[in-house]
Symmetry: C2
Subunit: 557 residues, 2 copies
Amino acid sequence: MTETPQHLYEKHADTLARALTAIAERGYWSAYPESPSPRVYGETAAADGEAAFRAYLGGLFPLDQPGTNGQVATEASPFGVELGVTYPHSDVDALIAAATAALPAWRDAGPQARTGVCMEILARLHAHVFELANAVQFTTGQAFVMAFQAGGAHALDRALEALAYAYAEMTRHPGKAEWEKPAGKGDPLRMTKTFHVVPRGVALVVGCNTFPTWNSYPGLFASLATGNPVIVKPHPRAVLPLAVTVKYAREVLAEAGFDPNLVLLAAETPGEGLASTLALRPEVKIIDFTGSTAYGDWLEANARQAAVYTEKAGVNTIVVDSTDDFAGMCRNIGFSLTLYSGQMCTTPQNILVPSGGIGTDQGHKTFDEVAAGIAGVVGKLTGDPARAVELTGAIVNDGVLDRLEEVKSVGEPVLESRVVAHPAYEGAVVRTPAVVKLSADADQIYGREWFGPISFVIGTDSTAQSLDIFRATVGERGALTAGVYSTDEKVLDAAEAAALDTGVHLSCNLTGGVFVNQSAAFSDFHASGANPAANAALTDGAYVASRFRIVQSRRHL
Amino acid sequence: MTETPQHLYEKHADTLARALTAIAERGYWSAYPESPSPRVYGETAAADGEAAFRAYLGGLFPLDQPGTNGQVATEASPFGVELGVTYPHSDVDALIAAATAALPAWRDAGPQARTGVCMEILARLHAHVFELANAVQFTTGQAFVMAFQAGGAHALDRALEALAYAYAEMTRHPGKAEWEKPAGKGDPLRMTKTFHVVPRGVALVVGCNTFPTWNSYPGLFASLATGNPVIVKPHPRAVLPLAVTVKYAREVLAEAGFDPNLVLLAAETPGEGLASTLALRPEVKIIDFTGSTAYGDWLEANARQAAVYTEKAGVNTIVVDSTDDFAGMCRNIGFSLTLYSGQMCTTPQNILVPSGGIGTDQGHKTFDEVAAGIAGVVGKLTGDPARAVELTGAIVNDGVLDRLEEVKSVGEPVLESRVVAHPAYEGAVVRTPAVVKLSADADQIYGREWFGPISFVIGTDSTAQSLDIFRATVGERGALTAGVYSTDEKVLDAAEAAALDTGVHLSCNLTGGVFVNQSAAFSDFHASGANPAANAALTDGAYVASRFRIVQSRRHL
């Protein structure tokens, strides 16, 4: 059972090498199969994972952490399933002390050992991917396949991607170097130099409600691999996926001979504000956060002792100028709006269309025809409840329902949100997307994020004005994704120029099986750090390089 | 005369490749010979450079910049030489506007073109290295050889090192990638992805008085290479070295077909506070600063829109436990204290020695004998004025003289600072180092930086206490360098552990021709970013990775 860190490194060396190639090439690659099929994962995997998930329900989550001073249970499933999992609540001082005490041996183990252990944690999580997927599904409201993919396989891919960047950064030069400087006619000066990778301190990961694993894993593994103990503060409504993660991480760490307190769970009581308490601790030197702009900005402004990586709100935008595949365009956009009821941080919100209509392969389409084309796809995808819920999942929390109410008094509906009765889960809160028409002067409405199944088709004077609005809203509020549809290379170039200037990733003419709200690990960058929606990208060199420092010593040979 | 950026890239490709190897190996390498000998640089190089320097004196510095609204002359040479160079003073709005306008074409030129142009700038500066060395000498007070090395050759090496990191970071993956994802029995999904390197915005470099080029070049070239226009705000007393730098940079940029306003000089009137005005501009997204802790902290706290890289004050420390080369140890430490009269940010200040003395190859040495041994070397090196001034140079500014007065009332002098009459420059302000004995409880005195020719030999209970003091002072105030002398591997290990915990680079048992206050480009890291003396290292991956972002676009093949 016990394997040394060096064994673990060697065991996973081929996968690591492939991941290092992938981040250098950024073509297609994936380490963890995204299909939950029994042909891939075995006949019993799905049932075993579900059983493991169900075994947690209504009980105390098994986590042996220091400083436990109570228990918390804060989750309520969007599917209406009674979860009732209770988590240990830990004293903040005890968490910080335990993390701090675990640091030196982990630091001194070096990059290879740490990376080997982290890869083993990923392998362990992958062995329990159905358990994770169930935990993600029932806390976030994602449909199962999405929970399996985004919350399981893709989250692991992003974790491995971050790990590969971290390993590459730590090992871009050797741990020891000899230095020999010619000294004229005398003997050369000769020294040996040791370069230590030194972590920043305790790392804090603040998880979000919708993507507890996908959005947390890159920071968690980037920090851990670079030597920093990690305290994971999950969203109170999505604790289980990260509790499961922490459990298996601790298991692997202990088996490898390290202090399991290198990964700790910080579950909070309602209204406790535990993230803020932790974030302001002087020992906390790295923070990864996904969530609201207000809180992300607060962290950046106040957690001054830490390197703070935030992903916040944005106004994702599509510019529609023309298309040679009108049906494909509507299908593609409509699917993007429907997936997880628009509750992805990458879902398009503003669809800018000239009021005079657009040219298409089906001839001229009026503005209303474009809006109706997109809305029609959403309507079709959500028409049959059984099929609908496999795309939409359920509504993650009441904030989304409040916005669906609020949007009723705004603009002119193209498609109204409907309540769908979930065929399997009676208590599930399911809503279909609303599509609303707005005019270009309604920037007070479309100029901010309406997180959830809400999007606006906005009539503009021209594509030129669409691009102006794109620049203005994305420049001011940020965006994680942008799209453009045009048959005119000049328009595509202008959109690309606007995307560069506002620092947002652009998808051009998506009409097939790739969607603007999906990014592929090892190839697509998620967020850019170049606009207000995020101050960093997942995952690139900048995302990992400041999580450690190099401290050298030198002596004469 | 005009060469395309691609030509420039190819012209310097071999040097760049060698620099990339050097940063990966971190052994010995240098691109710019540090010997000012005519055998290296030619018989007329020194005289030509001096003549070019003298031609600037008493005149308006030739710099054709936008928005000039006056002239400033703020320099006073520590050598008492009348400089009288006048610089254009520019309107801040005009500088920002010019830099901003220059950005898009520079961004769009791509990493290779930008790197080629930056390498050509370095080549141009190297062709004028004697001119630069004179400018550094007469503004900073460095002796000529040091000005040539630290201010010329080594500054260029550090610039190239930063450039190599920037190039490596920008090109760690290709500019375009193809992505092909299997899609079951259907056609694979195929996309082409373009990854643009997008600069952060306008960069500001705030120069220091003592090392205007060495400390400014890494940030300047890292920012410029990654696509950011750079505004250079020199210290009012050391404008000329950076004005010369800006002049040649603009010349090369224009020749290569780029807007010369990619590099701008922001000379200030006394008391203008121009650095603060520029630092708070929303367009300024990167700031590099070397100087006081107070101002560095202010920048970090207030220039929140920018990535801020600071090198500040610290308390450099040497722990003396024992030695097998007492004479070599004293020679080495004494030389470090004497060089540039201790006005290096890397000069040791606190020398911790057990009050009961130490074991050496010459038998037991008392605390006083150790202090006298070090002070004796300083005394010998500074005994003959003609030889002294070639090591000490002159005192950079009155702040240093004030501290020399202040230290007279502190502790017990081992060696008093002396006034030396410079044989060549009548008005030169030359002072030899003061060495002062303190007890371990005088932490109110030695616990802060005394920048200049001031060091303390501090009597401790034991080496264990010395290490405790080392941890406490470096942990609280930071340090750029640390040293240890011991014949006991356990003590060396304990010192290395203390260095890791406080994040300071450690030199062990230096007794020969390598000094604790010197770092070699491409091998030694300067600063670590892991203690209060600096929030970043020159130069590593973290130093360059956040100076740009990647913005991608993707479309179906």
